[in-house]
Amino acid sequence: MSEGKSALLVMGCPEVPVQMSMVIYLSHKLSKSGWDVTVAGTDAAVKLLKAADPESYYVKKTVDLDEMIANIVEKKVDFDVCFAFMHSDAGMTYGATFSAISKARLFAVVFGKNAEALGESIDYPAEKIVAKATHNPNPLKNKIDKVIL
């Protein structure tokens, strides 16, 4: 039963192509299962998302990443699950922040060339989804499909 449950997808820097593809895929998949999905990201990442989904068919709600952090810290909003996408040290740092400020069940979605090393270095409470994927989304998609919510 996922009716009424909320999910947050956190986009990191959009320079690795699989991220956008997987955020749209996961948002659509969760929405179809009844989840209320919000996607947070940098200005550039949100622009890319809106250009790819101009009528908000796959992603209904987007919000600025820093604004989302402020709202969670100030307890104006929180989520049941959070998928934090990351492929760099900065992304890992954002993941740690969400782990500390939110009560959501956190999934660290780690991808890119250094996915394995980055995944091993996660020492904060999070369930890891790690795949060495940059251009081909399928290794990451296969792992995301195995997540049971």
Binding site: I69, D89, A90, Y124
Partner: protein, 122 residues
């Protein structure tokens, strides 16, 4: 964009890792304080970081980490006596809280010691 980018700041490290930024603050500050991710500074910046998040004081300057998703971590310095005072007050609150915890332990240790007869009762 956070208000910090419009303030008069000094950059000490640019586009580095969070770990290196934390070490820089620890090595180059006169006072070091550790805060949780989400600690608010100035009007609208919530600290992003992996705990423990170090913040430093050097004279009138506060040193802190500033993370941007596409550019990595920066170590910034901004003169602000107001923020330094808040940091010190925040630390004092934490110490007070931990002392309260110790006092509870003290009460327990003040309980009457067990007698030898109690020890060998069974």
């Amino acid at each position: 964009m956070s208000c910090i980018e419009q303030m008069k700041y000094r950059l000490y490290l640019e586009r580095t890792s969070f770990k290196d930024a934390r070490e820089y603050i620890e090595k180059n500050s006169e006072e070091i304080y550790y805060v949780d991710p989400g600690y608010k500074i100035f009007k609208d910046y919530y600290i992003i970081g992996m705990p423990p998040v170090a913040m430093g004081v050097r004279g009138k300057e506060m040193l802190f980490t500033y993370v941007k998703p596409c550019h990595g971590t920066f170590v910034m310095g901004i003169d602000s006596e107001e923020e330094i005072t808040r940091l010190r007050e925040n630390e004092a609150k934490k110490i007070k809280k931990s002392l309260k915890g110790k006092e509870i332990g003290k009460v327990a240790s003040n309980a009457a010691p067990m007698s030898f007869s109690d020890v060998y009762k069974n």
